[in-house]
């Protein structure tokens, strides 16, 4: 029996790109478990990322990666490039919305155990995308070459100095010269521009990984698991589009009506290596790690702790071996994840505050929660849950 009819000759594209139709069919029929609204944030992230790429390319047309012209070229974009202010505000406001959605997306993954088998690769590729987003955002913030760009970059690049033995030579190698100057600015620009496309490729990989295993099902651990699935189109296309609309409305509110909320006054002053601003604060989305660097008295220790706080996330699929996913039905994990979210928000606030001993101690407390939840509470609870599950299985068998 012939079960593939030859494609009609009118389908020009089908004959030349034979995978296109099966691919579209796969996307449309992709089976979706009964997920809640938190599963729409991925679509919002794709929208935010697309906006960043498009606005970024237009900004790159007018930006000059040169110490003497960078600040002036930003002012020219704001004042003289037609719609330049609009493109720049989309790019500068978009980054905050992107990170807000990114952290929510990750928080959803943590709460519903989306990092666990068989979705380890989805989680790991997502974490790498997040790390690259952080590097890209940091590099991008240097580009306007305002006071906060310059001093923020100085503080963070000099963290490399803390690496034993090779620290200083490594710093000079990375910056291209002794201090943060023209060479470094040009490198930051190339890094920022290139990483955008690398991230695009990795997001593709992230989605391929997801489509290999399918979305996680939040109802599986509940008393009434719902295993029915529905095709992605049309219901979930419409649901995701609706979420993207609301997300874009929030972005529009931010960039059109509250532009001062996230911009730093120090960054409308050109970089001046001779004058340190009163207080150097990072962007809110990098604040947790800035707070960690400040909370640890030793510079190297701070670097190690900030690095480990991210590395521990990579180990999660193997730290949590419980068969259960959803924190809603895991009492200890529910408390633990709640505490972790609280610690994360606390670290954001702490990173934006002036460096006082009180905030340093609060940051240390939050750090302790971060590591205790992931390295003690989660593995221990998971081990107990697995033991309970195995014994109940034995009971059923016997």
């Amino acid at each position: 029996m012939m079960n593939h009819t030859p494609t009609p000759p009118s389908h020009w594209l089908d004959r030349r790109l034979p995978f296109l139709r099966p691919f579209c069919r796969h996307m449309a029929r992709f089976p979706m478990p009964p997920v809640n609204l938190l599963w729409t944030i991925g679509a919002c992230l794709i929208a935010a990322f697309d906006l960043m790429i498009v606005s970024g390319i237009f900004l790159a047309l007018h930006y000059q990666p040169d110490m003497t012209q960078a600040f002036e070229s930003i002012e020219a974009i704001e004042r003289r490039v037609p719609s330049g202010w609009l493109i720049r505000s989309i790019h500068a406001g978009g980054v905050s919305m992107l990170f807000a959605a990114l952290y929510l997306h990750m928080g959803r993954g943590l709460w519903y155990g989306s990092y666990k088998a068989p979705r380890e690769l989805v989680w790991l590729s997502g974490l790498i995308v997040m790390l690259l987003f952080m590097v890209t955002a940091f590099a991008g913030y240097v580009l306007p070459w305002g006071q906060m760009s310059y001093w923020g970059a100085t503080v963070i690049t000099h963290a490399v100095d803390a690496v034993p033995a090779i620290g200083h030579p490594l710093l000079v190698y990375l910056l291209g010269e002794e201090t943060l100057g023209n060479i470094a600015l040009h490198r930051f620009f190339i890094l920022h521009f290139t990483l955008g496309f690398i991230i695009a490729a990795l997001i593709g990989l992230h989605i391929i990984c997801l489509h290999g295993t399918g979305s996680s099902n939040p109802t599986l651990d509940s008393p009434q698991p719902d295993k029915t699935t529905r095709p992605f189109a049309p219901l979930y296309v419409v649901k995701d589009s609706l979420a993207v609309c609301i997300f874009l409305a929030l972005l529009a509110g931010l960039i059109f009506f509250l532009p001062g909320l996230l911009s730093k006054i120090d960054n409308i002053t050109p970089a001046n290596p001779l004058k340190t601003p009163a207080d150097i604060t990072p962007e809110w989305y990098l604040a947790p790690w800035f707070a960690m660097l400040r909370a640890i008295p030793s510079r190297l220790g701070g670097l190690i702790i900030a690095g480990s706080s991210l590395l521990v996330l990579f180990a999660l699929p193997w730290l949590d071996i419980s068969p259960r996913h959803n924190a809603t039905y895991r009492p200890f994990i529910r408390i633990g994840m709640g505490l972790f979210f609280l610690a994360f928000l606390t670290l954001i606030v702490a990173g934006l505050q002036p460096a006082t001993p009180l905030w340093a101690w609060i940051s240390r407390g939050a750090l302790l929660v971060w590591f205790l939840v992931f390295l003690v509470l989660l593995p221990f609870t998971a081990w107990q849950e697995r033991k309970a599950a195995q014994s109940s299985q034995k009971d059923v068998q016997s």
Binding site: P234, A249, T269
Partner: protein, 235 residues
């Protein structure tokens, strides 16, 4: 089952509206109408004050002479202003002083700051500027002023012994719209101008923002209705 044609409606709407909106976005939106308005906006009066008074000491480095076209549609007048200072429309509004040292020497030791973003960078913002410009007064008894120093209880530097000479005088400017050039009037107009110079797209931004939000609200409404129909409809 829903007719499938209907599912495309929101996306067709999106394409249609964004297609219609994009030429409007590509054109410089802030270009003013060709005929000058009968009543001047505060920032337009403020530009006259800036041209005739402030810019004789202060720079506005990040703006070009030509950028003022949004407030002063008469190109010849702008060109005249730029030529007086031996430069063209495409040059930044630079400091009249050849160096910082000369600027300091001419102003009792304080360099007149750049005004590009002064309303955002100065402590107190626009309210401070409006207040300070109209608050020069004779020194109270017991306060002695050094030469080239002026008493201003609002000013932030040198314990009210301010180095900027009183810039505004009653009737210093003849406003074409007949507004009386009192000191508080001029202080408020020039502050409006400095706010415009800091954030010249504010009006356009609010207009586009409102349009975007209305459009997204409409689209969300349609999508929400569609979602509810599909949810009921599906098995």
């Amino acid at each position: 089952m829903m007719p499938h044609r209907l599912l495309w409606a929101p996306f067709a709407l999106f394409t249609l509206i964004s297609g219609a909106a994009s030429p409007a976005l590509a054109a410089p939106i802030t270009a003013a109408s060709p005929t000058p308005p009968p009543i001047m906006k505060p920032e337009e009066r403020g530009l006259l004050i800036f041209q005739q008074i402030c810019s004789s000491c202060h720079s506005m480095d990040h703006a070009h002479y030509g950028d003022m076209i949004a407030l002063q549609p008469d190109v010849a007048a702008l060109q005249h202003w730029a030529q007086q200072r031996h430069t063209g429309l495409e040059s930044p509004i630079a400091s009249p002083y050849p160096s910082v040292a000369v600027g300091k020497a001419n102003n009792g030791g304080d360099y007149p700051p750049d005004l590009s973003h002064i309303v955002r960078t100065i402590r107190g913002g626009p309210d401070y500027i409006r207040h300070m410009l109209a608050d020069y007064r004779p020194a109270p008894p017991g306060v002695t002023l050094a030469p080239h120093t002026y008493y201003n209880p609002t000013a932030l530097t040198h314990h009210h012994k301010f180095k900027m000479r009183p810039p505004l005088q009653e009737g210093a400017i003849n406003f074409p719209d007949g507004t009386k050039a009192t000191i508080p009037q001029m202080a408020s107009d020039v502050t409006a101008f400095l706010q415009w110079a800091d954030d010249s797209h504010k009006r356009t931004r609010h207009f586009i923002g409102t349009a975007v939000l209305l459009y997204l609200a409409l689209l969300s409404g349609i999508l929400l209705a569609l979602w509810r129909v599909l949810k009921k409809d599906a098995p």
